[in-house]
Amino acid sequence: MDMDLPLIWAGLLSLGVFIYVALDGFDLGVGLLFPFFAKDADRDVAMNTVAPVWDGNETWLILGGGGLFAAFPLAYAIVMPALYAPFTIMLLALVFRGVAFEYRWRDKSHERIWDTSFVFGSFMATFMQGIVLGTFVQGIEVDGRAYAGGWWDWLTPFTVMTGVALCFGYSLLGSGWLILKTEGSIRAQAYRFATLTAMGTFFFVCVVSLWTPLLSPEIYARWFTSPTIYFVAPVPLLTLVVAGFIARGIYKQIDSIIYPSTIALLGLCFIGLGVGLTPYIVPRAITIHEAAAPDSSLMFMLVGALIMLPLILGYTGYSYWIFRGKVRHGDRGYHS
């Protein structure tokens, strides 16, 4: 039997990146909302909702980088130099926020510094990830097997806009997560955050949807001409439905609906991005099949992935289950 291994791996990697967005998205989002809490004690609780899970969430980003390297080495070799500055800044930003999880508890007299580091790191990491996503829509200049553009090609009004858009998206995810995990005054604040960030997110989803087709005739054709229009038309329609769910969840204060609906909303945006990108992995330059490692590499990894991924999802889910329920003031884990 001949399997289309590059396609399978493109699917698995997309899934991995999407799980990353859904999971690290909320803890980055909590970082973005951090400065807006009224009380210091609320900040402690907010951070404790993500402390047991953040590094597991970030592991999906390592899978994204490592998986791209392994399955599509040519794409990795082109994309990384093309996005040199955004990736470098993102990685440094993740260092700033990652260390804050421990340091702020170890050094209460400098808590402000580490809170700032947490907020700044979360913001820069999110913004740069938005720029990376925007660049995947906008295109990357390639010559032969290498990046051929300049250092600043990634910086355009469009990518800045997608950077801001992702900040709103992650903030909404973070609000939805805090609503799930907290009670009392923090939950009430999280609802106010959710209202504002949902409005921002809806606005930017519209802007991205209208702007993207204008970037290239190929993308335009895919969204607006027959026959592809029939396949892609459900995406914006479903987006409207999901946005309705989020609005209703916030209005009626149904705690359990906002976070999952936001994941669905970002998932639809992700599919929309995929519609524009397929069959390329480096936009409009290198296809999935051109960039793929040989089948022997892909097959070897597939065996491992099929065994390991269900296990990973199993014990990750189990860990979330152990830390289920609302986090309260005074829950400090091993920090006490």
């Binding site: 597991g56 592991t59 899978l63 390297f69 290498a146 051929a148 830390f323």
Partner: protein, 468 residues
């Protein structure tokens, strides 16, 4: 001078800097996770609260170290692409899947169970918590296994073919993973992590014994650390020798650089000190032990050993750096073994905990494992030059098409951020180490205080640890 800092040199400096910083944390967490695994097992078995207090004490330190390892490791997984994209394109089909296996089998395992290990003591049963600790410890070892398979393949590549695009493609995965230098490197590095942590634990134990020689936790950790030094340090010397012989077989020029030998010769001396001069292809000064190198490397007093001039100058690594790092590593290994042996004598005499000069020595040796690990990696990585994939792909042909100013700017950013943030982390770790491990540590809500305020301390911790 300015030509020296071209994009290639800057990219190498950046990789060397970020990977050197990074390796400190895994070396620490591999050993410490196993130590925690042992402590919790002993607690469950004996119900002795000393083990539980030690577990909790070292768990907090582990959490900070592990966090720094995660974020500095994330940088590494992208650095291959940003600065070494041609290498990534060419070697990706072989080493990429091994890295993917590392992420899938090890990183997720560690991260998935770390939350339970750190925060779950009140939420899950004792056995399940112990299972979480075991999984984290197992994950760190598994991670080392995969990444060392990658590194070893770059040193002694086997099991691959080269396709029409010039990419290395997998032939036989078993021979790629179990390449000739892999078993030795894995053993040597794992033992190095264990020794490093033993000396950290021993150093911390010694510090607290110097304040209070009756402290039961301090006695316990010091004793455990000294047993490790007694048994593991000699095993490590033996494992290092095996690794060296393997290198002699597969990378003889690296061994010539380690030995500072310019010419193929019989009955070669082991040089204690030398000043290698690459221009003149000789050492401008040297002192050595006659025949010692021949005996160690060939087990024959008249054995023949390789020289750097066996290959053209363009195929030789930088000699001085390899030569001196090797000596630093050997010196530290020897001191560790001496400490271990002497501890047996003191233990027999019943003075293990009350010999201040010995505790002070152990304290000074506390950070020595990190120095030895870094020195060892410099030997093997600089010794691999001028290749990324030994003998097959040159470092100069592995580079990304990125301009020097971009690499320079990111290098400066990494240096500034790493020193500031990981410096702070190291400071917090040292501060935690200065708190007594007696369960009387800081209570919830109270700010942590440096040990400078504990009554008995006459020196600040950083002075004693040697300004780490």
């Amino acid at each position: 001078m300015l030509e020296f800092f071209d994009a290639a040199m800057l990219a190498r400096l950046q990789f060397a800097f970020t990977v050197s910083f990074h390796i400190i944390f895994p070396a620490f967490s591999i050993g410490l996770a196993s130590y925690l695994f042992v402590l919790e097992a002993l607690w469950l078995k004996t119900d002795n609260p000393v083990y539980l207090r030690l577990y909790k004490y070292w768990l907090k330190i582990f959490a900070v170290g592990f966090g720094m390892g995660v974020v500095s490791g994330l940088v590494m997984s992208y650095q291959f692409g940003t600065n070494w994209s041609v290498f990534s394109d060419k070697a990706g089909p072989v080493i990429g899947p091994l890295l993917a296996y590392e992420v899938l089998s090890a990183f997720f395992l560690e991260a998935g169970f770390l939350g339970i290990m750190l925060f779950g003591m009140d939420r899950v049963g004792k056995k399940l918590h112990y299972f979480a600790t075991s999984m984290v410890a197992f994950g760190t070892l598994l991670s080392a296994t995969w990444i060392l398979a990658v590194n070893s393949w770059m040193q002694t590549p086997t099991g691959h073919a080269v396709n029409e695009l010039g990419q290395f493609v997998p032939g036989n995965w078993m021979s790629i993973i179990f390449n000739p230098s892999f078993p030795y490197r894995l053993l040597h590095m794992t033992l190095a992590s264990y020794l490093t942590v033993s000396f950290v634990v021993g150093g911390v134990g010694a510090w607290h014994l110097l304040r209070d020689k009756s402290n039961p936790e301090a006695r316990k950790m010091f004793s455990m650390a000294m047993w490790m030094a007694t048994f593991v340090a000699p095993i490590q010397i033996f494992a290092g020798d095996l690794h060296g012989l393997n290198t002699l077989e597969h990378q003889p020029i690296k061994v010539a650089a380690m030995e500072g030998h310019w010419h193929r010769q019989t009955g070669a001396p082991f040089l204690l000190a030398a000043w290698p001069d690459s221009e003149k292809e000789r050492n401008s000064f040297e002192i050595g032990i006659p025949y010692a190198s021949a005996i160690v490397l060939t087990h024959d007093i008249d054995g023949e050993t390789p020289g750097l001039t066996d290959v053209p100058a363009s195929d030789r690594p930088p000699v001085g750096m390899v030569f001196w790092s090797f000596r630093v590593m050997i010196l530290i290994g020897t001191l560790m073994a001496l400490i271990g042996i002497y501890s047996v004598w003191l233990r027999w005499k019943g003075r293990l905990y009350e010999t201040p000069w010995f505790q002070k020595s152990a304290l000074w040796m506390g950070p020595s494992g990190f120095v030895a690990v870094l020195a060892g990696w410099v030997v093997t990585e600089v010794g691999r030059q001028p290749f990324t994939v030994y003998g097959l792909l040159r470092t100069s042909e592995s580079l990304a098409p990125v301009d020097a100013p971009a690499v320079a700017a990111s290098l400066i950013a990494f240096i500034v951020v790493y020193f500031a943030l990981f410096g702070a982390g190291t400071y917090y770790i040292i501060r935690m180490m200065c708190l007594p491990p007696d369960g009387q540590g800081p209570q919830a809500g109270k700010p942590l205080r440096a040990a400078g305020t504990t009554p008995a301390a006459s020196m600040t911790p950083t002075e004693l640890v040697g300004g780490l």
